[in-house]
Subunit: 472 residues, 2 copies
C-alpha cells in the first residue's frame, strides 16, 4: 500500500506542478511477470482521472459535440466523394489543432467508386405504388427506360433454386426472414448474383434489419464473374412482406425499376493518422481506430462516426490530460471500409513488416451505445492480463472482457497474431439505423459516448503504458 | 350451479343442433339488479367459445388477413380520394357477403378535401441537404418557385414570442421536445398559425413522435381567421435537432421549401354501416367502431385499419358463430376522422334524437397491439357492471377495466351520457408509426389482433345481450 501511494503521489505531483508529459516510471512498477496485479493497481488513479475528465470534467460531451460538428457540417461521406476528402482534410487539421504528432494522410488507391444517382421502383400491378428503395453499392444502373418486369417473390436461395424456371426475365424479390445481420446479409451480398444466375433481370432485397419505419438499408453487394451484372436495390421490410402476401394470393405483380447507379474509375483516398509518440518504446504501437467513410445516406454518425470519434478522442484526451505512454498511441481513421475494408487492408500491407511492434490493435465499428466492456482476441495469457486491465473501468460498469474482437478493419493484424480489441456496447438497435437515412447523430447519446470514450481511453493508455507488450 | 348448467346446456344444444341465431333466454337468467354475478357467469362458456374461435379456431388470423387484403389492395385512404370511396364500396360488399343486415353507407358532406402534391425542402446554407418532409393537412402550398428564406429555430411557443422580431420573413422551425402526443401535438396544430402571427413565411414542425428513423409524420393543422395562411410541413426529429444545433452555433440557415398542397372544394363521403339486429330490443344499439379513412402515407393499417377491422370482425364472428344478441349490434366505420371527426360528428347529429336507445358506444383508434383491457366512461354503477363483464376475458389476460374511454369518434355520445368504451392495448410504439409511411400492416401482429378481436367481440356481444341496458 505504501509503495503504491508513493508512486501515485509522485505522478500527481508531476501532473499538478509541471504539466509535462509523463508515464509511470518503469522503475517504480513491478513487471507483470512478477506482479501484474500491482502494476494494474497503479493505474487506478489515472484511470479514474480519465473517467472523471470525460464524464464530469472538461471532456464531458466533447465526443458528441465534435461528432455533431463534423456530421452537421459535412453529412455523409461515401468513398470517392469530394466530401470524404474534405472531411479527411478537416480531421487532419483537427488532429494538428489537438497537438497530435506525425499527423498525416496515407494514400489508399484502387478503391471502388460507386455513385447512386436517381433511383425509383414503382409497383404497376396490381396497383400503382411508389416504393422506398436504396440501390446497393456496386450495382449497375438500368437503361434510361428502366426495367419493367413481372416479379418472382422468394424467401430463400433454396426456394429460388427450386423455382429457377420461373425466374427467367423476372425481377426477383427476396423476402428472407431476418435471422441476424451476419446470417441474413448473404441476401444483400449475393441476391443479385443468385437472381442473375437463374435468368432474373433485376433483384430487390428485403433490407437487412430487424425493425423498420418504411426504411430501406443499403450496403455493398458482390457480383461474380461469368454472370451478368443486374441492377439491385434493397426494399423495405414492409414492401417485401406486402409483395410476398400479394404473390401468395396468386396475383401478378409488375414493377418498374429505374436506377442511374454507376461504377466510376477507381478512386484514391487516405487513411487519416495521428500519434502520441511513446516515451520509452516509440516504435511499439497501440493502434486505436474506426472508419471515416460512410454510406451516402443519413450522416454516418453511428457507422462509423462514433467509433472514429471515440478513437480520435483517446488521443485528444491524452493531450488534454498531458498523458504520454511508454509506447506510441496511434489513431487511424480508415477509408473505404464500406466498400470492402480497402483502406485498412492497404495499411496492413504497407506496415505488416513491422508487425512485431504492433502491441494491440483496437477498432470500434458496431455502435457506440452504452458500453459494457471489451471484446478481445488474443492468447490466454493476454486475455488474463486484459481481464485485469478491465477492472480499471469498473467505475463506469463496463468492465467485462468478452472473447473475440469483432475484427473488421483490424482483422488482418489479429489473424496474424496481434492481440485485438473492439468495443462491446448495448447495440440492440444498431441495425435499426445501419446503412439507412436514420444513421444520424440523433442515434448517439452524449453521455453514452462519454462512457465509450472513457473505456476506450483507459484501455488504450494503460496497454500502451504497461511494462511489456501483451503476450502473443 | 345446477341452474347455470341447465341454462348452458340448453344453449349449446341449440347451437349444436339447430345452428340458428340465439341469445340466452331472458327468462333463464336473473336480472342484474338481483344477481349480476350469475348473469355474467352465464356468459362464460359463450365467451370462451368466442375466444377459442378467434385464437385457435376458424377465426384465427381472420382479422389480420382481412386487413392485409384491404391494405394491400388499396393502400392508404385519404378522405376526398377515389380510393377511399372504392374501399367503402369494398367494405359494404364484404359486410353483405358476411350476411350483415341493414348494410349501407350514410352520406357525410362538407368534408375538408386536401391534397398533398409534390413537396420538398432543401437546406441551401450552410450546406446543400435535401430533407425528408410531409406537408401538414390543410396547409396551403407555396408558389411555383417555392419559398427561399432564412430560418429561425425555436423550441417553444414562448421562445417564439420572445424572439418575435427575428421571425419576420423567416421560415420558423419548431424543435420542441416530445413530451407526449396530447401535449406536443399543439405544435403541429398551431405552429403555422403562431409563426404567421409574428411574420413568418412558412413553418416546419418537428414530427410529433418519440422515435424516428428519419421519419416525418403528417397530421391535420389549424389556421385561424385573421392570420395569413402560410405553408407548413413536418420535418424529422433528426433534421429538427440538426437545424437546432447549427443555429445554436450561430450559423445562418437558408431553406428552400416547395409544396403543391391544395385545399379543394369540400368532399362528400360515407360512414360504412352494418348490423346484426337484436332479437328482443332491436331499437337498442351497441355501437362498435373505428375509422376507415387514413392519411395519404403508409397504409393506414394501424390508424385505424386495426380498429376498424376488429370492429367489423365482431359482427363477422357473431355471424360465423350464429350469435344474435337481444340488442342490435351495429358496426360503423367512420369517414373523415383524420380531418376532424367529420363523419362521426354528422352521424351523431343525424341520430342523436335516438340517444336513449344507444346502450354502449365503442371505438378503437389508439392501436391494436396486445390488448390489456378496456377503457370505460360511464357512471359508477355501469363501471361496476363492466368490471364484471371484463372477467369474461380473463382467459386472454386482458380483463382490466380502466377509467375513461379515449372518446374520439364516439366522444359526442359519451359527452351526452352514453356509456363508452375504447380498447386498451400495449401501444408504447404507436407514435413511432402514427401518420407516417411506417403505418403499414407490418406493424400489426396477427396473434395480437386476434386477442383484440376476441376482447372486442366478447364485450360487445355480452353488453348487447344482457337483460338491461347499462345504467347512465
Amino acid at each position: 500500500m505504501f509503495r503504491k501511494t508513493v508512486v501515485l503521489f509522485g505522478y500527481f505531483l508531476q501532473l499538478a506542478t509541471l504539466q509535462t508529459s509523463f508515464s509511470i516510471p518503469a522503475s517504480k512498477v513491478v513487471s507483470h511477470h512478477t506482479d501484474i496485479d500491482s502494476q494494474i493497481k497503479a493505474y487506478e488513479n489515472i484511470s479514474q482521472k480519465i473517467i472523471n475528465f470525460v464524464t464530469k470534467g472538461e471532456g464531458k460531451h466533447q465526443t458528441f459535440n465534435q461528432l455533431a460538428a463534423m456530421t452537421d457540417k459535412f453529412g455523409n461521406r461515401l468513398v470517392g466523394s469530394e466530401t470524404l476528402e474534405s472531411v479527411i482534410d478537416y480531421m487532419l487539421n483537427q488532429f494538428k489543432a489537438n497537438g497530435l504528432e506525425n499527423v498525416h494522410g496515407e494514400e489508399v488507391t484502387n478503391i471502388p467508386h460507386w455513385i447512386r444517382g436517381q433511383e425509383s421502383a414503382t409497383m404497376l400491378e396490381p396497383r400503382n405504388y411508389k416504393m422506398s428503395i436504396l440501390g446497393l453499392g456496386g450495382s449497375v444502373g438500368t437503361t434510361a427506360d428502366g426495367i419493367t418486369a413481372e416479379v418472382l417473390v422468394v424467401h430463400s436461395f433454396d426456394e429460388l433454386q427450386a423455382r429457377a424456371a420461373e425466374a427467367i426475365g423476372k425481377i426477383v424479390v427476396f423476402d428472407q426472414v431476418y435471422i441476424n445481420y451476419g446470417v441474413s446479409v448473404a441476401y444483400r451480398d449475393y441476391g443479385a448474383y443468385q437472381a442473375s444466375k437463374v435468368g432474373g433481370v433485376a433483384s430487390l432485397i428485403r433490407s437487412i434489419a430487424p425493425f423498420s419505419i418504411n426504411s430501406p438499408h443499403t450496403g455493398w453487394q458482390y457480383y461474380k464473374n461469368g454472370t451478368a451484372k443486374i441492377p439491385t436495390a434493397c426494399i423495405t421490410i414492409e414492401d417485401a412482406e406486402m409483395l410476398s402476401r400479394i404473390a401468395a394470393r396468386g396475383e401478378k405483380i409488375v414493377i418498374h425499376l429505374y436506377m442511374e447507379a454507376q461504377n466510376l474509375p477507381r478512386a484514391t483516398s487516405r487513411n487519416t493518422v495521428g500519434e502520441i509518440v511513446g516515451t520509452k518504446y516509440p516504435d511499439q504501437v497501440v493502434l486505436v481506430s474506426g472508419h471515416l467513410d460512410s454510406w451516402d445516406v443519413g450522416q454516418g454518425a453511428m457507422d462509423d462516426g462514433g467509433g472514429a470519434f471515440i478513437s480520435w478522442q483517446v488521443l485528444s484526451i491524452m493531450k488534454q490530460l498531458n498523458l504520454r505512454a511508454k509506447r506510441t498511441v496511434r489513431v487511424v481513421l480508415w477509408t473505404g471500409e464500406e466498400v470492402g475494408l480497402v483502406g485498412s487492408y492497404q495499411y496492413y500491407n504497407a506496415h505488416k513488416s513491422n508487425i512485431s511492434n504492433y502491441d494491440f490493435v483496437m477498432e470500434s465499428d458496431i455502435g457506440t451505445f452504452k458500453p459494457n466492456g471489451l471484446k478481445f482476441s488474443g492468447n490466454d495469457e493476454a486475455f488474463a492480463i486484459m481481464k485485469k486491465v478491465m477492472t480499471l473501468v469498473k467505475p463506469i460498469n463496463a468492465s467485462t472482457l468478452y472473447k473475440k474482437a469483432d475484427g473488421g478493419d483490424v482483422s488482418f493484424w489479429i489473424k496474424n497474431g496481434v492481440p485485438g480489441g473492439s468495443l462491446s456496447n448495448d447495440n440492440a438497435e444498431y441495425f435499426y439505423f445501419h446503412h439507412s437515412n436514420g444513421d444520424t447523430i440523433t442515434v448517439e447519446n452524449p453521455d453514452d459516448l462519454d462512457l465509450c470514450t472513457a473505456l476506450w481511453a483507459v484501455v488504450t493508455y494503460v496497454v500502451a503504458d504497461m511494462d511489456e507488450m501483451l503476450p502473443r
